[in-house]
Amino acid sequence: MPLFWLVLIVLAIASAGYVLGRSRALASAGGDRSILHSLPSYYGANAALKSAVPAFLLMIAWLLAQPFFIDNQISGMIPEATIDESSSLGLVMAEVRRTAEGLDNAVAEGSMSEEFARNARADIVDITQRLKDAGQIVTSDITQPVMRAAQRYRVLSAAGGFYMTLVVLATAVAGALWGIREATAGFRARNVVEQGVLAILVAAASIAILTTIGIVLSLVFNTAEFFGLYPAFDFFTGLTWAPSFSGRGGSSELGIIPLLWGTFYISIVALAVAVPIGLFAAIYLAEYAGPKIRAIAKPLLEVLAGIPTIVYGLFALLTVGPLLVSVFGDDGLGVMQAGTAVMTAGLVMGIMLIPFVSSLSDDIINAVPQAMRDGSYGLGATKSETVKQVILPAALPGIVGAILLAASRAIGETMIVVLGAGAAARLSLNPFEAMTTVTAKIVSQLTGDADFASPEALVAFALGMTLFVVTLGLNIVALYIVRKYREQYD
């Protein structure tokens, strides 16, 4: 049964549970709502929750576990010898799945009978041909073990699907019945539903946290693998970044210092653009602009934040780069060789960060109590004196937090530097030279035909991990400062 139908049926059972639970509760009170502990809808909701939530949880768990189980069963069927030197068990398993899918589709189209697809003694060449005729993607010639495995795969997944349907439906019905049974006047349905809602909310929060942990773990494992192939000391202290894709590890020099330098240089240029402009814009919006101007200007400024970074990258590549070259290039001051440079990427990234700084600073400046302004105006201070001497000092910790958040955004930014900063890993002080960043190198190390077992590809995870630690540190400091500031006025 397709998953979609199963979901619909479970929902239908839950709805039925709702209606029945509600009416049973009402009936138990003889139609008098005031006798009931809770509103009738709570009794219904209790039955619906008890039916749908465990059923769906079970379904998700089953769907996650089934592929592991089947893979385990099938992989035993593939003899070691049939795995080519160049491929791996994983690749063969992918072929098995593809073949099984092809068979499924062919049966569904009617170009192959179910019996034929299941027939273990069928001629492989014939089946391959038939699959190709049916328009199914079959990469190489299907070998006998792969065919067997694919057939076994089909059987197992069909059985799995069938049992899953049974178990899920049984759970849903049992839950609904349980909920309906409970629906009597004295039952505290309201409290139970409250608990259920709490459980759902906690589950949603845990999924977000667990995903983060999962991402970090995958980074950690791959990073550890990289450090097994390449010395960590050389990685963190190497002054040269020269990956070699032809050799196998030994001839590559993978020092992170030039990349970190490029990252920080571009981020500093970006912040040098974004912080003054963003802060002044925030001060104007928060202190000077009338409500009408504010209502228009603030959303307009925040539109900048909605522009995809790839568009900023194009802007850097096609507009800002050539513009800078025309001023600083050979025709002008002669310090800039090409459009891609630290300055190009930094300026454009700075523009991208303006709304970030201005929006956060605006909120923080607005959070400074009006009493502070009144106190200052009451002493005969002008607006700019008040801003400079009272509001900014009061808002400073929050603004610093905003700047740190913007900085961690700048460090993690990818598209603008890929397009605007160039690809040369270089340790230089000249902002008109091309440099590259950690993020840009992660992109270039993982795009293309990199072998995922080589240090040249795995280095991307170590780079990502380093970046993650740096931005996490910045974020923690920023949040700490912002929170400390917030306590001041609460």
Binding site: D374, G375, S376, G378, L379, G380, A381, T382, Q389, V390
Partner: protein, 265 residues
């Protein structure tokens, strides 16, 4: 005590310090203050009393043009301070507020040191030529606000660390430091406990020697204790104004009588 030169100037004035005629205040379309006429005597305490929302604070804020900082607020009529129309286009509201200081309902020290809180106004207006002069201003302001003994050893600590009553006296000291002639106080004791209130009231009574003080208060007892004249506001109208003694013992208007006897408000 550091005698300020402006006191002699104020002493020459036999006339009223502040004179308001036909003052109207509008918040957008709402007519918040209607036809207020009042004369306020120099070097005395005048209190504004009345139920919440009667416009007494709004009128107070007209006297140093604090209402200018509210966009929708519009003031009509004339308010003269020392016979000068403060709503004249020639008058700079910022300069005016240095002359007419204000103390707010909730103590609002700046998140700066005690010293810098006091020095803020004098710095802006360039009242001190050097560090010694500034120290002198800070010391004398704190002394006149009766706070010197309590804070003299911790001038560099943040003003926000003081107790509520101390903070309010710090705000009064801050207002005194810029040498105002008039001090407006908008319910200065409403956030304070009785002991702190008593100290602030005592201070107000002392400041009367040198400043013209206008105080808005919810507490009729406070008005009776500290003020020489009292004005009763109701629904944006100045109902009755006169010597405090008369207002509380022998009000002429029925609404005043109802209010002070606790029949409404």
């Amino acid at each position: 005590m550091n005698e300020m030169p402006h006191i002699d100037k104020a002493a020459e004035m036999t006339d009223s310090k502040i004179s308001a005629k036909q003052v109207q205040v509008f918040y957008g379309d709402i007519h918040a203050i209607k036809d207020v006429d009042i004369e306020i005597n120099p070097r005395s305490v005048t209190s504004f009393i009345g139920p919440s929302g009667c416009g007494k604070s709004t009128f107070l804020r007209c006297l140093n043009r604090m209402n200018d900082t509210i966009d929708v607020c519009r003031v009509e009529g004339t308010i003269l301070i020392d016979s000068e129309d403060i709503y004249d286009p020639k008058v700079d509201p910022v300069q005016l507020r240095a002359k007419v200081g204000m103390v707010f309902q909730k103590p609002n020290p700046f998140p700066k040191s005690i010293y810098d809180n006091i020095a803020y106004g004098p710095r802006i207006h360039g009242l001190a030529a050097n560090k010694t002069a500034m120290d002198e201003i800070v010391t004398s302001s704190l002394q006149r606000a009766g706070l010197w003994e309590e804070v003299k050893d911790r001038l560099s600590e943040p003003g926000t660390g003081l107790s509520g009553g101390q903070q309010q006296r710090l705000c009064i000291a801050r207002a005194i430091a810029v040498n105002p002639e008039v001090i407006l106080m908008d319910e200065p004791c409403s956030a304070l406990d009785p002991i702190a209130t008593a100290k602030v009231e005592e201070l107000i009574d002392e400041l009367r020697e040198n400043f013209t003080i206008v105080i808005v208060t919810h507490s009729m007892q406070q008005a009776a204790r500290v003020s020489q004249r009292t004005a009763f506001f109701h629904l944006g109208i100045l109902v009755e104004e006169g010597p405090t003694q008369d207002i509380f013992t022998n009000p002429t208007d029925k609404r005043t009588q109802d209010y002070i006897t606790g029949r409404f408000g």
